[in-house]
């Protein structure tokens, strides 16, 4: 098959337990226990998972809450490091931020487009060059020069997706963000994603909406109990997942 964009090779990932992140006061008062717990108490989220995503493919990840879907995206984005195993990524990554992430409520829509675009890896000149397209896509009209605190959550989502839609991504990471905005705009987002797909952008898509997954993804991975339960073409995995 074609070139590999993402390779996970027996990747394990654990997190520190919450009580480890305590105050320095507690740490000093319970020093021996605290030091012991620093070493031991981690809980495992992924245990030796392996999969591959090919260039130009749309790859879905499904599973119950807390099963490690977002952790997998974090590992792909390189913000998390695996405890063991290897993560190989070929291509520039554009993560779609959650609602309001990378925005500031006091800045105008226009200013936030620059902020968000630069956060997502563009240079300022590149964002400015696409400014008009982005604004047009967002359909925000005169709101674009209003501070973001006057926006509704649907308008936030429009702005966020409009920026990412003009990124020239190579690998797009999407973590459950399409379910906002009105139906018209949701459809526009979906169309844009299908457009990316046609352009050969690799998409990794995490969602609980089986409808969206089926529309967008070629293959789907089902995560369960720290491991890969099944990787296969979308229809098959979704059917198995629903009938589990």
């Amino acid at each position: 098959m074609s070139e590999k964009a993402i390779v996970f090779d027996r990747v394990s990932k654990s997190y520190p337990r919450y009580h480890q992140i305590m105050g320095i006061k507690n740490f000093l008062f319970h020093l021996p226990t605290a030091i012991r717990s620093l070493k031991n108490a981690r809980y495992e989220v992924l245990n030796g998972i392996s999969f591959e995503v090919y260039r130009g493919e749309s790859f879905g990840i499904i599973g119950r809450n807390g099963v490690g879907k977002s952790t997998t995206l974090g590992l792909i984005a390189g913000v998390l490091r695996p405890d063991s195993g290897r993560v190989i990524v070929n291509g520039r990554i554009s993560p779609l931020l959650e609602l309001g992430g990378g925005f500031h409520p006091e800045l105008t829509g226009r200013e936030n487009i620059i902020l968000n675009g630069v956060l997502l890896g563009m240079t300022r000149a590149e964002v400015l060059k696409r400014m008009d397209e982005i604004i047009e896509f967002s359909e925000l009209g005169e709101f674009i020069d209003q501070p973001l605190r006057t926006y509704s959550s649907g308008m936030y989502a429009r702005l966020g997706f409009s920026v990412i839609a003009h990124l020239d991504p190579e690998i797009l990471l999407i973590d459950e963000v399409l379910a906002v905005g009105d139906i018209g705009f949701q459809k526009k987002c979906l169309d844009k994603m299908l457009g990316f797909k046609r352009m050969g952008v690799t998409i990794v898509f995490v969602s609980h909406s089986m409808g969206d997954i089926e529309k967008i993804c070629d293959r789907v991975m089902w995560l369960e109990d720290k491991r890969v339960r099944e990787v296969n073409e979308s229809k098959k995995v979704i059917t198995d997942y629903i009938n589990r």
Partner: protein, 254 residues
């Protein structure tokens, strides 16, 4: 190459963001940022000059020339504990050098300080003095030293705070303590002989003495300049090492 340009733009855009939010494009924002050190200068002037009758000439000018640069340091450091927490959603998704975030805070406060220099000039004029030509190289030099030092402290505090979330309270106490241990509201010459050596242990002392010397006399003392420079390098390196060791875990603990 493109990546470096992106990091540079990130630094610019994030600093602009802070400035825009603070000033909201109006003059009142500027007045607020100088009101704080001026208010402190006023309080100390009342307490020490008017009430306790300290024997010093031009005490108001003396206070201002130390309080303004201190304000930069103190603001940046007390903001440090929350800088990463406040940007959690970005840090968890986007991979970029996290050290840019505290740097924008320090740069932003530096810009406030630079903008407040005219106020110092105003006080000089009130006291029948004038800015010196040596400011032309003295100010950039001390700016650089203080930038390094403050950024180093900021990296240490912001990084460690993710693992020990109560550093915030400790920071406020330590900054206040350091303020009174640094010759800002009193001259280093008034420190009793047997404690004089202790001043050299305070990394902020030589820097603050240098700022004041530059503003009041237009001169820099080479020994103080040198020791402040060495302190700033050491603290910056220390901060950078701690940050490097911890930064890959930020997304885990946020």
């Amino acid at each position: 190459m493109r990546r470096l340009q992106n990091y540079r733009d990130l630094l610019i855009v994030l600093t602009q963001k802070e400035l825009k939010v603070r000033y909201k494009n109006n003059i009142l924002g500027y007045l607020w940022s100088i009101a704080n050190p001026l208010a402190f200068a006023f309080v100390f002037f009342i307490a020490f000059k008017v009430v306790m009758k300290i024997q010093m000439e031009d005490y108001a000018l003396f206070l201002i020339s130390g309080l303004f640069p201190w304000q930069w340091f103190a603001n940046s450091v007390t903001e440090s504990p929350t800088v990463f927490l406040g940007n959690a959603s970005i840090i968890k998704k986007v991979n970029f050098p996290r050290g840019i975030i505290p740097l924008t805070i320090v740069l932003q406060d530096m810009i406030h300080f630079i903008l407040s220099v005219p106020v110092i000039v105003l006080f000089l004029i009130i006291y029948h003095k004038a800015p010196s030509i040596s400011w032309a190289y003295g100010i950039p030099l001390l700016l650089l030293i203080q930038l390094l030092l403050t950024y180093g402290v900021s990296l240490i505090i912001s990084s460690i705070n993710l693992f020990f979330r109560d550093i915030k309270h400790l920071t406020v106490i330590l900054v206040t303590l350091l303020f009174y241990l640094t010759p800002i509201i009193y001259p280093e010459t008034m420190v009793p002989e047997r404690y004089k050596q202790l001043i050299n242990l305070n990394p902020m002392a030589p820097l603050m003495i240098s700022w004041r010397g530059l503003f009041l006399r237009g001169g820099l003392d080479p020994p103080y300049l040198l020791s402040s420079f060495i302190y700033s390098i050491l603290i910056f390196m220390c901060g950078y090492i701690i940050y490097r060791r911890l930064s890959w875990r930020f997304a885990e603990v946020l």
